[in-house]
Symmetry: C2
């Protein structure tokens, strides 16, 4: 098996956690006799500093030429005064658009070993296994017109969806649900927004092609509550772009730390893989960053781009083992628990050994 991975480590803790993730991919390649090659590129704040652009052409070319893109994190407070189109995050939105992946998969799983790290009671989180399918190329993030007019002191953004955009992401959700617990919860605000009415009608229509899957609709406000109250009720959660951004971060409290959450964006020319956490500039370089989100993201590379399901599971099992052995980065270490605090690199090594 050959796989060419474009590695865009980005800002803040991006490089530190990505290093551990690529180490694991190296290890998997060696163990399995695969040939994984890695090409590096700049994105985000580091790219702006280097060349003035958050997504330089060279990076985009390398990404489009690869079989998979592994991203670290993007964002740097240094650029907070710039308009959205010039900020590090613009590089992220541009590469998402250029690669064309519209379905962002974000698993939110409760690990028994980490039950103490969640603000939720263990009896609430036990057994939770949610897969968010977040539409990633539409809605307020990309809709035009968009502007902040400093003369009139008015700003607008546009939430826009077409039926086709909803159809394709809904199909991904139903396909995935049919291989899981066969339930899709579609999130919208159909009691107020026309866009949500299109969303709901379209999802309802597509559901007919998947009679084995149960569809339920939830309003985004109720859903924000239900995910905390009864997370076990959910299997696949289908959302538009912004609602998925908010709810999948919220669901991070089920696992106990954003640092644990992986994501994969599929459906386009090249799949894009990024941990859910941000660049966390406050802890960059301190060794406090949790590389498990990036490592679990690497597992998703194996699953969705290399078709190495067994290896993906092996990596996930290795992460579980390390947690059960009591190793913790700062974000998942609870006072009073008998655990061993390790830094980013050490955590990576423990996963490697457990493999």
């Amino acid at each position: 098996m050959r796989l060419k991975v474009a590695v865009l480590a980005g800002d803040g803790i991006g490089p530190e956690v990505t290093r551990e993730a690529t180490n694991i991919l190296h290890a998997v390649a060696e163990l399995g006799g695969h040939e994984f090659t890695f090409v590096e590129g700049l994105i985000g704040g580091v790219a702006i500093t280097d060349s003035g652009s958050p997504l330089p052409t060279a990076t985009l070319d390398a990404a489009l030429d690869a079989d998979a893109v592994l991203l670290g994190a993007v964002g740097d407070n240094k650029f907070n005064s710039l308009t959205p189109d010039k900020r590090p995050e613009a590089g992220l939105l541009q590469i998402r658009q250029a690669l064309g992946g519209f379905a962002n998969l974000r698993p939110s799983v409760a690990y028994t070993a980490l039950a103490g790290s969640s603000p939720l009671r263990p009896e609430v989180t036990e057994g939770v296994d949610i897969l968010f399918v977040r539409e990633l190329l539409g809605g307020l993030y990309f809709g035009a017109p968009r502007r902040w007019n400093k003369e009139t002191n008015e700003a607008i953004n546009t939430m826009r969806y077409t039926r086709d955009e909803v159809v394709r992401v809904a199909r991904v959700a139903f396909e995935l649900a049919s291989k899981r617990r066969k339930k899709v919860t579609s999130v919208d605000k159909a009691n107020v927004l026309e866009v949500s009415q299109l969303w709901r009608a379209t999802v309802t229509e597509i559901a007919k092609d998947y009679p084995e899957v149960t569809l339920e609709h939830q309003l985004v406000d109720s859903m924000a509550m239900h995910i905390m109250n009864i997370p076990r009720n959910f299997d696949v959660v289908l959302t538009e772009n912004l609602f998925g951004d908010i709810l999948s971060d919220e669901a991070g409290v089920i696992t106990g730390s954003l640092g644990m959450l992986p994501s994969a964006t599929i459906g386009g020319a090249v799949n894009l893989y990024e941990p859910v956490h941000g660049s966390a500039p406050d802890i960059a370089g301190t060794g406090k960053a949790n590389p498990l989100g990036a490592i679990l993201t690497a597992a998703m590379v194996l699953r969705h781009s290399a078709n190495l399901e067994q290896d993906a599971r092996a990596v996930e099992q290795a992460v579980l083992k390390v947690l059960e052995a009591g190793y913790r980065t700062a974000d998942i270490a609870r006072k009073g628990e008998n655990v061993q605090l390790v830094n980013t690199q050490e955590m990576g090594k423990h996963v490697h050994q457990a493999l």
Copy 2:
């Protein structure tokens, strides 16, 4: 003290909980020698059924003629197939707009007696006292253009804010914070949305007039997580319309039930009071509805429209007493706890007695 209250009980559990709230207002009037008068009006689904309009002119006139409007709940699945402008919820949005209140205050408080009802650990919720200030007349809810074009299969909504709209609601937040723990957390998505950049810049500017209040900015996705992880960190949380809708419902899990949460909308011609919960058609008429959200909303009427701060506190204390005495409606009763299950009316009576 004289006060004319327009009572719009609305749909589902609206009438049952509003009855208990007006009973309490009657009791307060009697105890204090005040003259409270009540005028009833139709809104939402019941109004559509009656006259075809979710906000009949007679209702609007009664509301505009009153000193305060007390609303129950609006929403009926029967009308799910109608477009947003024809649904029960349109009546709610129209009356919000007609009354002109732009600052929706939503307290989210942890009650020790209910700690067991929250999915959050008691040590996380202990002492939490957050006040959401949600902008209620702008953003995606009201922005034009808005449409679902069934020929082109495309739908759009517009998120729009002007500087003035942000200024006035920000001032409310800072004023309130200066009388509380002196912290405002402003929520936006300034790394992506132009509207959020206007929001952030404006709030930052207004903060200068309140040097005693600390301002922090949070991205809406991170905030969805922080409210669950470290709710005690927040005092006043200032948001635009949709973000406030989502986050204030989410924060309901701190109290343990949406059924406990009151709200007041101030700043317009006539203040509007509504519990945060919806019409809950599944339990309407069963006596299961929790009237405490509506009763605490009545307390907000006393505070913000009648200037009867002491009476407002007395009602809030009475609610606390009843909870501490162990009375619970179904939504806040936990199995295994030694509590007494009561219905909507009984709960209202217990609060009345405790007064």
